[in-house]
Symmetry: C2
Subunit: 259 residues, 2 copies
């Protein structure tokens, strides 16, 4: 009996090919099968378009394209997950190693989690290995020229399309609020920023680190907008790190724990 | 007049050398000076111990060791930041490129933010470039075999030593709570887990992806413990992703937005 192949979930980072890790490169190049998620049957896989320019071509390798439509409905997504695990399972049962590529990191808002769970339900002895990647969240902070959090700050990560009714409260309780999946939530977000006086502390980045990257520092301009593809907004209440070193008086609340 | 050198903040990832990105490798190997933070004058730099096994030796390169003691007190940390920027600035003014290495990602709980701000205060035209890295946060999720967040989940990242008085409330409002910098907060954390019935949904990882990695799935054993060095706890309220594909009845609240 052939031993089951290993299933890898591989994060390819936010968009720039050279933000793949050395391990991701190695795992992708060695895999028998690349499972490449895309959002429509006729579109390209964003994860593959990130990795392809830096990965060595491997003629023996199969590229298995899997479609997961953008949807909040389990009735839409679930059959696609089951079909994906059918196709991936066929390869695993033949002893082939399958690398499932994901944008960013496989643990953050990725379909890989569903695929893993269903595969483990069917084959409990399956070996699954996750290769973490650079997330778009820290890339957006880097692009904005701010820390996501200095040593003592709290961060909330909110998928906005699933509800931002308590955003005013969150903005008051967290030093940094990261809003992802903006969709139709923009009017509510802009209103909450106005109410908390934080409009000028917010910025938006879409397609971070990609050639088409867009940065919008005046979020008022986003009225009636969704921010575009792969957009994310960061709201940073204060700028304590700057004050740590600049202010004359020592202030323990602005210290860091180094390094 | 010599042009100012560029200051790079380079994330080297959570611990395993092959989790450096291709860009981090390139920037580190090309830099004239490596700024290597450490927590004591006699200790090693953790960031350098992560990168050294995978970086090509460069005999022309200077290694500048900078000490930032672990402290919450600005009076302790601030003079070290100023001294670090003195030393780094001397090199930048000579036109040399300086790469400041940080564990994980430079935007997450790193001293780099303070160094950048002070350097930009002194030399406003300085070119600063941040190379994002894999954070220990997603690595710990990967090690735990769970998603940090599926498509619709909320995440809170809390540095515990700065206060966990509202932890019960946070555990009720967020799908995933990441507790970092555990220190003396462990008794309060364990009590909040008991009160919310989430003790069995928590796990701790220290020194993620390093050879000395420790995973503790029964957090009750941590009574009177700080979890050790570089420890992090993840509390995941539910396990929806598993249910998405396993349950017979469709349930829109458990859908994902793919891919």
């Amino acid at each position: 009996m052939t031993a089951l192949g290993t299933l890898y979930g591989v994060g390819v980072g936010p968009g720039a090919p050279d933000l793949l890790t050395v391990r991701a490169l190695r795992v992708i190049e060695a895999a028998d099968v690349l499972a490449l998620p895309r959002s429509s049957d006729f579109g390209a896989s964003v994860a593959w378009s990130i990795a392809a320019p830096i990965v060595k071509a491997n003629a023996a390798q199969e590229r298995l394209r899997l479609t997961f439509p953008m949807s909040k409905e389990a009735t839409v997504v679930r059959p696609r997950v089951l079909a994906a695990v059918d196709a991936i399972g066929e390869r695993l049962l033949a002893g082939r190693a399958v690398a499932f590529l994901t944008e960013g990191d496989p643990s953050v808002f990725s379909t890989f989690g569903y695929v893993r769970d269903e595969a483990l339900r069917r084959w409990p002895s399956l070996r699954v290995e996750v290769v973490p990647g650079v997330t778009s969240i820290t890339s957006v902070a880097a692009i904005g020229g701010i820390p996501l959090a200095d040593g003592h700050e709290r961060v909330a990560i909110i998928p906005a399309t699933y509800g931002v009714g308590d955003l005013v409260d969150l903005l008051e309780r967290f030093d940094t609020v990261v809003l992802m999946k903006l969709g139709g939530a923009m009017p509510t977000i802009l209103e909450a920023l106005e109410r908390t006086g934080l409009t000028d502390r917010a910025f938006l980045v879409s397609r971070a680190t990609m050639a088409e990257q867009r940065v919008e520092r005046d979020v008022r301009r986003l009225e009636g907008d969704t921010g575009g593809c792969l957009a994310m907004m960061i709201v940073k209440r204060s700028d304590r790190s700057g004050r740590l070193v600049n202010e004359a008086a020592p202030d323990a609340t602005r210290a860091t724990e180094a390094p």
